[in-house]
C-alpha cells in the first residue's frame, strides 16, 4: 500500500472510531440536562440519582470522546500536510473556533459536573450541566461547518501567490447550506443514539425486574426525546440530500446507482445490484417519480446520471488544464495582470486538472486517454454507497417506529406490558451507531476522489512523510484503540450490571417511589 492508501485508512479508522463516542455525548448530555431540570423543578431525589447514574456512564464515554478527538485535530497536520497548507486558511478557522468557543466550555465544566455536587447549589449544578450540553452541540456545529466546506467549498478563492485557497467571504463559509443541513442531521442522530442507549438499558432492567422506578422514568424521557430525534434525523437527512443534489451531483447519482440520466422526474431505485464494471444496475426495483421529487423538489428538473457527469468532468479537466498552464506562466512572471485575469477565468476547474497528477507529473502534456481515465476516476464506489445509504435509511425508519411505540406505551403506561417490545428496544442498541457510521461513509467515501469537492483531489493532500511511518502509526492506532475499546466496554458493562444502587452507593428508589409511578 502506498502512503495515500495508508493515510486514508488511518484517517477513516480513527474518524469512525472517534464517532463511536461523539453521538452518545451529544444525546446523553441533553438527556442529563432534561433529567436534572426535572430534579431542580420537582426536588425529587430519584431524578438526581438518575442524573448521577447515567452521568457515570456518560463520563466513561466522554473521556474516550475527548481522548480520540485529539487525534482528529492533529492528523490534518501529521498525515495531510499538503491539505493543511492548501486549505488551512479556510478550514483551520472553524476548527480553532470550535476549541475556543465550544470545546473549552464543555471540557472545563464537565469536571464540575462530576466533582461539583457538594460544592454547588442545585441551580448552580444545573447551569454546569447545561454548559456541558450546550458546549457539545456547538462543538458539533463548528466541526460540521468545517466538514460542510469540504463538501461545498464556497466563500474561498485560489491565490496563485501562496498556492492555496483563501477566505474571500467568511459568512458564506459560516452559513454554508450544506453545513447547516449536516449539523442538524448529525446532532439529531446523536439524540437518537443517546435515547437508544437509555431506552435499551432501561429495557434490560425492566426485563430483569430491577431498578424499576429509575428504568421507567428513564424510558419515558428517552421515548419522547428519541421520537423527536428520529423524526428530525429522517426529515433533515432529506434536507441534507437536497443540498447535496445542488453541488454533489455525482454523490447523489452514485447513491442511487443511476448510470444514465432519466427523463424528469427520475424514479428511485429501492433495491438492486449495482454493477461497476458494466455501468448498470441489475434487478432494480424502482419507484417512479420519487428520486426527482426528493432531490429537485420539482417534477420537471432532471437528475443527471453518472455517465453524463463523467462527460462533464472531461470538459472541466480540459478547462482546468488551461488554468494550470496559466498558473505556470504566472509563476515566472508574477507581475503580469493579464495572466492573473486569464487564470481567474478558468481557476474554478483547476482542481479537475489536478486529478491528472495521479497519472503523470507534467499534466499539461496529458493524453486524451489519460483525461478520460481521470474523468472516470470521479465516480465513487457505487455499490458501497448504494448499500450503506439504504441500510442507514432503513435504520432511520426503524427508529421512528420503535420510539413511536415507546412513546405510545409510555403515554398509556404500558412500557412493561410487552416483553417483545422490551427485547426489541434492547437489541436495537447497536443500530444508531451502525447508522451513524454508515452515514459518514456515505458522506466522505461518497466525496471521493475529492478531499475538497472539485478543488483538491484526496491523493494530493497527503504529507511527504515516509510511508513506513504511517504504517507504524496505523498499526499503533489499531492496537492501541482496540485496547482502549476493551477497557471502555468493560467499564460500561460493569457499571450497567452493577446498576444504579451500587454505582451510587445507596438505593435510588425512595420509599413510595413505586406508588408514585403507579399514580
Amino acid at each position: 500500500m502506498d502512503i495515500v492508501e495508508l493515510s486514508r485508512l488511518q484517517f477513516a479508522a480513527t474518524a469512525l472510531y472517534h464517532f463511536l463516542f461523539v453521538p452518545l455525548t451529544l444525546g446523553l448530555s441533553l438527556i442529563l440536562l432534561i433529567m436534572e431540570t426535572v430534579y431542580v423543578m420537582t426536588g425529587r431525589a430519584i431524578w438526581r440519582d438518575m442524573v448521577k447514574f447515567w452521568g457515570t456512564l456518560f463520563g466513561i464515554n466522554f473521556a474516550m470522546g475527548v481522548a480520540t478527538g485529539v487525534t482528529m485535530e492533529f492528523q490534518f497536520g501529521t498525515n495531510w500536510a499538503y491539505y493543511a497548507h492548501y486549505v488551512g486558511d479556510v478550514f483551520g478557522a472553524p476548527l480553532a473556533i470550535e476549541g475556543l468557543m465550544a470545546f473549552f466550555l464543555e471540557a472545563t465544566l464537565v469536571g464540575l459536573f462530576f466533582f461539583g455536587w457538594n460544592r454547588l447549589s442545585k441551580v448552580g449544578h444545573l447551569i454546569v450541566t447545561a454548559g456541558v450540553a450546550v458546549g457539545s452541540q456547538f462543538s458539533a456545529l463548528w466541526i460540521l461547518i468545517a466538514n460542510g466546506w469540504m463538501q461545498f467549498p464556497i466563500g474561498a478563492k485560489f491565490n496563485p501567490d501562496t498556492m492555496r485557497m483563501e477566505v474571500s467571504d467568511f459568512s458564506a463559509v459560516l452559513f454554508n447550506p450544506v453545513a447547516q443541513a449536516k449539523f442538524v442531521h448529525t446532532v439529531a442522530a446523536g439524540y437518537v443514539t443517546g435515547s437508544m442507549f437509555v431506552l435499551a438499558i432501561s429495557a434490560l432492567y425492566l426485563l430483569q425486574k430491577r431498578f424499576r422506578p429509575l428504568a421507567l422514568r428513564s424510558m419515558t424521557v428517552a421515548a419522547s426525546f428519541g421520537l423527536a430525534g428520529a423524526l428530525c434525523v429522517v426529515v433533515l437527512g432529506d434536507e441534507s440530500g437536497y443540498t447535496a443534489s445542488e453541488n454533489q451531483k455525482m454523490k447523489i447519482a452514485a447513491i442511487e446507482a443511476m448510470w444514465e440520466t432519466e427523463p424528469a422526474p427520475a424514479s428511485f431505485t429501492l433495491v438492486g445490484i449495482p454493477d461497476r464494471a458494466g455501468r448498470k444496475t441489475d434487478y432494480a426495483v424502482q419507484i417512479p417519480w420519487v428520486l426527482g421529487l426528493i432531490t429537485t423538489r420539482s417534477i420537471d428538473k432532471q437528475v443527471p446520471g453518472i455517465n453524463d457527469l463523467v462527460k462533464l468532468a472531461q470538459l472541466r479537466i480540459r478547462n482546468g488544464l488551461i488554468a494550470y498552464g496559466t498558473l505556470a506562466r504566472l509563476r515566472a512572471d508574477r507581475g503580469n495582470a493579464d495572466l492573473r485575469k486569464a487564470l481567474d477565468a478558468h481557476v474554478a476547474d483547476l482542481g479537475y486538472a489536478l486529478l491528472l497528477k495521479r497519472y503523470r507529473p507534467d499534466i499539461e502534456n496529458a493524453t486524451d486517454a489519460e483525461i478520460a481515465r481521470a474523468a472516470d476516476s470521479t465516480i465513487p464506489n457505487v455499490p458501497v454507497l448504494f448499500w450503506a445509504f439504504r441500510v442507514m435509511v432503513a435504520c432511520g425508519f426503524w427508529f421512528i417506529a420503535l420510539f413511536g411505540t415507546a412513546f405510545y406505551f409510555s403515554a398509556t403506561r404500558k412500557l412493561e406490558r410487552y416483553r417483545l417490545f422490551l427485547y426489541a428496544a434492547l437489541f436495537s442498541l447497536p443500530l444508531p451507531w451502525l447508522a451513524a457510521e454508515l452515514g459518514w461513509i456515505v458522506a466522505e467515501y461518497g466525496r471521493q476522489p475529492w478531499v475538497i469537492e472539485g478543488v483538491l483531489p484526496t491523493f494530493l493532500g497527503v504529507s511527504g512523510t515516509d510511508a513506513h511511518n504511517v504504517l507504524f502509526s496505523l498499526i499503533g492506532f489499531v492496537v492501541f484503540y482496540s485496547g482502549l475499546a476493551v477497557a471502555d466496554v468493560y467499564l460500561m458493562v460493569k457499571y450497567i450490571r452493577l446498576g444504579p444502587d451500587e454505582t451510587l452507593g445507596h438505593p435510588v428508589a425512595p420509599p413510595g417511589a413505586l406508588a408514585e409511578v403507579a399514580a
Binding site: A63, Y82, G116, F472
Partner: protein, 369 residues
C-alpha cells in the same frame, strides 16, 4: 490593522497559547510525572489523581486549541511541523490519549493490578510529552532539514532519531524539569499530609535542576549558528516562504543585543524558579507558572522572526512574515479570540474557585471525593 500588525499579534497569540498550555496542562503533566515519588499508598495516589481529576479536561483543551490556532493562523507551520515531526507527534498523541483515560478510569475498579497499571501509564504520559516538547523546541534552534517544491509541497528528510541531538536533549530536560517543578508546587497547594510534604520537598531539586539546565542551554545556544533573513524586509507580502533569502550566520541572541529589555524574560524564568522555592502555597504555584511562561518567551524572542528555520534549504525556513494565513483570516480569528478567550479565562477561574482547597486524604477515605 495592517497585515504586518496582524502577523505580529498572531505571533504573540501563538506564544500566549503555548504558555497557556504549559501553565495549565503543565501542572497535570508534572503531577503525573511526580506520582511514583510523592504518593505511596492508594489513598495518596488518589489524592494526586483527584487534584487534577476535575480540571484536566479543560487544561487539555489548551493543547487542542493550540493545534487549532496554529492550523488557522499559521497553516504552513502546522503542516510542516506536524508532518515533519511525525513520530514524535504520534508519541505525544498516544500520551495525551492515555493520560485522560488513566485519570478517569484508574479508580473505577478496586483491583490493585488495574490501578497499578494505570498509575504507570499516568507517570509515562506525564514524562514523555514534557520531554518531547522540549526536544522539538531545541530542534527549532538547530534548524530542521526541509524544503518546499514549486507547488509549496513540504519535503522533509529526517528521522525521529536524528532529532535527538545533545543540545535538543538538554532543552528537553529544561522542559521536563520546568514541568516537574510546576507539578510540585501544584501538589503542595492541592493536597495535604505526606503527599504535600513530599511534593514540597521536590520543589528545591526541581527548581535547582531547571535553573542549571536553563543556563547551560543558554550558553550552548550562544555557541550555535543562527539564521538571518538577508533579502529586503517585506512584512505584508504573500505567505510564500520561497520568496525570500536566508543565510546561516550570527547568533540567536541578536534580538537580545538589539533590545536589552528582552533579557527580562530569562531573568523572570530564573526568578520564578527561585520564587517557587522561597514562597509558599499559591504564591509558589504562581511563581512556577511564571517560570514556565518566561521560559517559552525566552525561546520565542530568540527565534523571532523565525518559526521553523530550515537547515538544508535556509530560504525555505518559515518566518512570521511568510507563514501566516491571509489577512482576512487573521483578522476574523483575532476578533473571535478577543471575544472568547476572556470568557474562557472567566469560567476557568470560576471552576478553580469552586474547587479551591486541597484534596484531603480524609475526604477520600470518607468517600466524599
Amino acid at each position: 490593522m495592517s497585515y504586518e500588525e496582524l502577523r505580529l499579534v498572531w505571533w504573540a497569540l501563538l506564544g500566549i497559547l503555548l504558555i497557556g498550555f504549559a501553565v495549565m496542562d503543565g501542572f497535570d503533566l508534572g503531577s503525573a510525572a511526580l506520582l511514583p515519588w510523592v504518593a505511596r499508598s492508594d489513598i495518596e495516589r488518589r489524592q494526586v489523581v483527584n487534584s487534577i481529576g476535575p480540571v484536566w479536561e479543560g487544561n487539555q483543551v489548551w493543547f487542542i486549541l493550540g493545534g487549532g490556532a496554529i492550523f488557522a493562523a499559521w497553516p504552513a507551520l502546522y503542516a510542516a511541523s506536524f508532518s515533519g515531526f511525525y513520530l514524535a507527534m504520534f508519541a505525544i498523541l498516544v500520551a495525551l490519549i492515555f493520560r485522560p483515560l488513566a485519570i478517569t478510569y484508574r479508580s473505577k475498579l478496586v483491583n490493585p493490578r488495574w490501578r497499578g497499571a494505570w498509575d504507570w501509564i499516568l507517570f509515562a504520559t506525564g514524562v514523555v510529552p514534557s520531554l518531547i516538547f522540549g526536544v522539538a523546541f531545541g530542534n527549532l534552534f538547530l534548524g530542521v532539514p526541509f524544503t518546499f517544491d514549486s507547488d509549496l509541497r513540504f519535503h522533509a528528510d529526517f528521522s525521529l532519531f536524528s532529532l535527538l541531538t545533545p543540545f535538543a536533549l538538554v532543552v528537553g530536560l529544561v522542559s521536563l524539569s520546568m514541568i516537574v517543578l510546576h507539578g510540585a508546587t501544584w501538589l503542595s497547594l492541592k493536597t495535604d499530609g505526606p503527599v504535600a510534604t513530599r511534593a514540597r520537598g521536590a520543589v528545591l531539586p526541581a527548581a535547582g535542576a531547571f535553573v542549571v539546565l536553563f543556563v547551560i542551554a543558554g550558553i550552548w545556544l550562544n555557541a550555535l549558528t543562527a539564521y538571518a533573513v538577508t533579502s529586503p524586509f517585506v512584512p505584508d507580502g504573500p505567505s510564500n516562504p520561497m520568496l525570500k533569502a536566508v543565510a546561516a550566520g550570527g547568533t540567536w541572541f541578536a534580538n537580545y543585543a538589539a533590545h536589552p529589555l528582552l533579557w527580562l524574560a530569562p531573568a523572570l524564568a530564573v526568578a520564578g524558579a527561585a520564587g517557587a522555592v522561597l514562597l509558599r502555597r499559591l504564591w509558589a504555584f504562581i511563581a512556577s507558572g511564571l517560570a514556565c511562561a518566561a521560559t517559552i518567551a525566552t525561546a520565542g524572542f530568540a527565534l523571532f522572526p523565525f518559526l521553523l528555520p530550515s537547515s538544508s534549504d535556509p530560504n525555505a525556513g518559515l518566518t512570521v512574515w511568510d507563514a501566516s494565513s491571509s489577512k482576512l483570516t487573521l483578522a476574523i480569528m483575532l476578533a473571535v479570540t478577543l471575544i472568547f478567550l476572556p470568557l474562557v479565562l472567566a469560567y476557568t477561574g470560576w471552576v478553580f474557585r469552586v474547587l479551591r482547597g486541597p484534596v484531603k486524604a480524609s475526604d477520600i477515605e470518607h468517600g466524599s471525593y
